[in-house]
């Protein structure tokens, strides 16, 4: 549990360095990617993204292990379903949040950054998957019915 929390915290703290360094597709000639990276950093959107990507998978993992916690829903594919939902939900929420922040900053910015945001969505989904997996490892121990899902203790 401690290690999982620490890894998640590191992810939140290092968000400022991680997002701007991500590959967002072939380098464009008009410098949109650089502008996007700069805005991510300078407007503090990375912290918001990191916190959301950290919180939602943890919440979904908690839902699976302690709220649902059912012998009807304790197989590895049940975990995979929740992981899939968690990943999609986190990605959708993150993009919505990012788009909203962009529009608050400057009207029409979300459309301008749309190609970069789409490329970022893949990374967000990947992070959400990793965080959900880490959260599952961290919190499954005390679940009565799902503590061995998807990996035996």
């Amino acid at each position: 549990m401690g290690a999982a929390l620490l890894l998640t915290l590191l992810f939140v703290v290092l968000g400022g360095q991680i997002y701007p360094a991500l590959y967002l597709g072939p380098v464009d000639m008009d410098g949109t990617q650089d502008l996007f990276r700069e805005d991510l950093r300078s407007q503090g959107w990375t912290l918001h993204l990191s916190m959301l990507i950290a919180a939602l998978p943890w919440l979904m993992a908690g839902l699976f292990y302690y709220f649902i916690n059912s012998v009807h829903f304790d197989r590895w594919w049940n975990w995979l379903i929740v992981m899939g939902i968690s990943t999609l939900l986190t990605t959708w929420c993150a993009l919505k949040m990012l788009s909203s922040r962009m529009e608050d900053f400057q009207t029409g910015l979300s459309d301008f950054y749309a190609p970069c945001t789409e490329a970022l969505a893949g990374w967000i989904a990947l992070f959400a998957f990793f965080v959900f997996t880490i959260a599952s490892f961290g919190m499954r121990w005390w679940s009565s019915n799902c503590r061995h899902t998807p990996f035996p203790q």
Binding site: S70, V71, D74, S144, N145, R147, H148, T149, P152, Q153
Partner: protein, 504 residues
Amino acid sequence: MRLFIFAIGGSGSRVLKSLAMLCAAGVKPVDPATGKPYAELEIVPLIVDPHQAGRDVKRTVELLEAYRKIYDTLHAGVREPSGFFSTKISTLASLMPAGQGGMRDSFLYNMTAVERLRFREFIEYNDLDESNQALMQMLFSDAQLHTSMHIGFVGSPNIGAVALNRFKDSEEFRAFGNLLGADDRIFFISSIFGGTGAAGFPIMVKNIRAAADSTLASRGYMRTAPLGALTLLPYFNIEHSKSSPINKADFLLKTRSALHYYSKSITAHDAPRQVDAIYYLGDRVTSSPYVNDPGEGGQQNAAHLVELIGALSPLHFLSTPARDLGRETLAFEFGLEKDSSTVDFMTLDPRTRAAIAAPLLKLHLLSLFLDHKLKDCIGRGFTKDSPTLGTEFLSTDFYLTLSHNFLPKYWDWLEEMDGNHRHVSFFDLENTGHLENILTSIPAKKGFLSGSRLSYDDIFSRLNAVSKKFNGKYPQSKLPAKLLHTFNLAVTQIIEERFPGIND
């Protein structure tokens, strides 16, 4: 502490079968010294029946063997003081130091010397002088003198009394005499209206009490050991057969004669100490008529309520403080809460219900769970806890003995009692899915989230919760013990929550 049980005749075997079922369910007597169930109780049954090929005897022996096998696996190394199969059941031979005794390791009293002979050969009739032959002709009918004893004493206690007097010269008697300890007790189970039990009980009691003058190691205890007995009065009906010496019309007559004899001998107030407590049990509502078969196969009577209640008598005897024994013979009877042709848990008095209802429900749920759910659980939940339970467990000797040998006999026992008269209908035997309706007389209370439904998944879920506490606490070799221990704890919780009325 040990309880030596001498189960005489067919009725003795059948009561012993019910006792094994109760022990499997975890029914235990209360130790009067501590007020808690006996932690280390060992029952040593000896079936005394010359008709050793008889179906009732065979069924009981097979059941006891299966019980012993299960017990040995569960309690190897560490002895669980409570729960399923927590009472040790041993043979006399298994208690003897290696190489001593020379007995076969069996729950049966070896009667080969008797069973091979006709009664006239047994008493060496041809070697008697004329006057003694005349005496024998007076005491025994021609048919009795020609009775082949390998089919028992077929309703003739006068034959049995002679044949069973050899008990004092047997290996089993010597072993028992050397094993009996200061805290141990002795119990007899027999019927009073047949041949073997009616004859064997007083003779064997006298043999034991008289052994104080022998050279046996425990001869002192033989005179003073607390001795109880269950005497079954007529309770079953039997088909009329002209060719059979067993006749229902004789049951009451034999009972009266035997009771009269007992009152003058083994339960007499003015006689030297014989029986400390005697339990009389019978039923005026007689059973469905059984097939009258005194021959090779012998009787196979369906299990009956009287045998189940009778099985509680040795447990009650063990709960009786020693200070209450040893003076006049205590006599006990049993009555139902209401006289009904169908007996469920609510028909029993609260004390009996409290003693047997919850344990039997646990055993019933165990049987259902093993049959209908365990396979589906493998690879999930508690089965992944250490020690892990994989599919290979289903082919272990322990599992096969429990689920393919012992528990089917438990179902036969329930079905026979259900089909008999009085009907014993504790459980809805057709119901293998809706566990909330499993008890015929006590509906389940609604659960917090599950409503009124109680399913195998509820048990599975509770097992998961309980098993977590024992993760890694048992070595792999103790997997059977862990499974039964956690199951016992899980269903105890479920019963307390969902069937709170069961102990009221």
